[in-house]
């Protein structure tokens, strides 16, 4: 369980986040929405332990977060920079496995297995920059999943992809979430995306001093799919509610 208690951040007098209290139960897919520049990425980096000093407390499974916790993975928006271009796709994905002390052959096999799972076969020996944007982000997702994290943080991961690719990757993420059951915190500025993906949507107010203005459970019938789900009356109602909160109306 991830617990944020009165979490805030400021740079000098400039308050970025203000008094954010949230509890994310195990296995929940939480979407954090907010206007551009409201501090969503800062919140995510704070949870990841990448920005060490913060106000309040963050605990993951009962232990306070200071530095990057174990069993945590992050997928960044900028896949071209987040993947290491001098390594092959397989080497990128196998990189986190070194820490587990697995022999080389097992690392390779595990990387190939996870690559197949995200829909990438026959790309293991290529380099990330030889792949399309969507495929590169699949590699980044594979690298995040390869250590079976209990908490997966995603920072607008599909923000720079075209609509079709984005929908494919949204469905991939839902499928991974259904089978792995990891806790996922998904930051986005896309209202539709947050309602389509989330078990719960949290809306942050515009910065400075962003705080939670809406905390909404998302209950949609059946297995979600791009065409049917987005046409449901419940979906449209939830989307309007989130939209109003984001636009502060």
């Amino acid at each position: 369980m991830l617990r944020l208690d009165a979490v805030g951040r400021h740079y000098g007098d400039h308050q970025v986040l203000h008094d954010i209290t949230l509890t994310v139960p195990d296995g929940q897919l939480l979407c954090v929405v907010g206007p551009s520049g409201c501090g969503k990425s800062t919140l995510l980096r704070t949870i990841a332990g990448l920005l060490p000093a913060y106000d309040g407390t963050i605990t993951l499974d009962g232990t306070p977060v200071h530095g990057v916790p174990d069993n945590l993975a992050v997928v960044f928006q900028d896949y071209a920079r987040s993947l290491y271009p001098w390594l092959t796709v397989r080497e990128n994905v196998a990189l986190p496995l070194r820490r587990r002390g697995l022999p080389r052959a097992e690392r390779r096999a595990e990387a190939d297995r996870i690559l197949a799972r995200v829909g990438l076969t026959d790309t293991a020996r290529r380099h990330p920059w030889q792949l399309s944007g969507g495929m590169q982000q699949r590699v980044a997702i594979a690298r995040a999943l390869v250590c079976r994290p209990s908490l997966l943080l995603m920072d607008e991961p599909f923000g720079s992809l075209d609509a079709q690719t984005r929908e494919d990757l949204e469905d991939l993420l839902l499928e991974v979430h259904r089978t792995d059951g990891a806790t996922i915190v998904f930051v986005t500025h896309d209202i539709d995306e947050s309602v389509y993906l989330g078990d719960r949507v949290v809306v942050l107010s515009p910065g400075p001093g962003a705080k939670v203005v809406l905390d909404l459970p998302v209950e949609l019938p059946g297995t979600r799919d791009q065409i049917t789900t987005r046409g449901l009356a419940e979906f449209v109602a939830l989307r309007s509610e989130v939209g109003r909160a984001v636009r502060n109306r």
Binding site: D70, A80, S82, Y84, L95, R98, R143
Partner: protein
Amino acid sequence: MNQPRTTASESARSPDRRTPAVRHSLLPLAVRHVLLPPLVRRTLAPAPVRHALLRWFVLALAVAGWQLVARAHGSVYFPPSAEIARHARDLWFSGPVRHLFLTEDAVADILPSLGRMAAGFGIAAVVGIALGIAVGRSRRVYALCNPVLQFARAVPPPALVPVFVVLLDFGTPMQIASIVFSAVWPVLINTAEGARDTDPLRLEVAAVLRLTPTERLRFLILPSALPRIFAGLRLSLSLSLILMVFSELLPGTANGIGFTLTDAQSRSDLLTVWAALALLGTLGYLLNTGLLAVEKRLVGRGRTTTA
């Protein structure tokens, strides 16, 4: 968000001045349109051969020009290129097959020079890369060391040689020390800047993947600094060659290409002086080509030259 990828690959391509199009446009119009067609285009040679021909064309032209002018003048100071080449072959490359055609003079002079240069350059490269990474990875150390480094780089390298003559006396240690202390700065400074410019997002990725310091160095910092490291190594290599010759010009040297130069000059043997100069030019070219080949192997496509 494809922007970083495109700019990176563009900047990786742009410094390559040996692309055929650019080289082609560098040739004067007259050469391109009058002399080249019969030589190059009508041979219907495959592209690599054509490119090689183009690359050597101007050099061949210069050597041939030298030959004609020198023959016409008959000056003892400027012997024709063919005579210089013949002399170089007699001096160094007419030995027995089992010595790879090297003569005793070549073994006695060229090999010690190359040995000193290799030792000096090797030490400078290892020390420069190691210190450069250490300096570049810490903002504070970089800020503290930068003025010192800029000062050390600004001192003309041959000016250091008298210091080492006093400290170490004449001989190989002095020569190697001179090469090391001249060649270490470009690689150190470039490595430090390369390491300092490691993409912050990639450092965050390394933190999230909880790479150990060694893994971070091996999989992130060194590969991302590699283009800059090689830029420094190329400068260091040419400085090594300069300092190798310079340190051999001093008294107390008993062998080496620099010694051959001063020795021939004292005997007014200008043919040998010219041959030694041609040899140094060739060596410099070959060493640089070798380094470029290593760089091309290690720094593949898709690596950024800026980040």
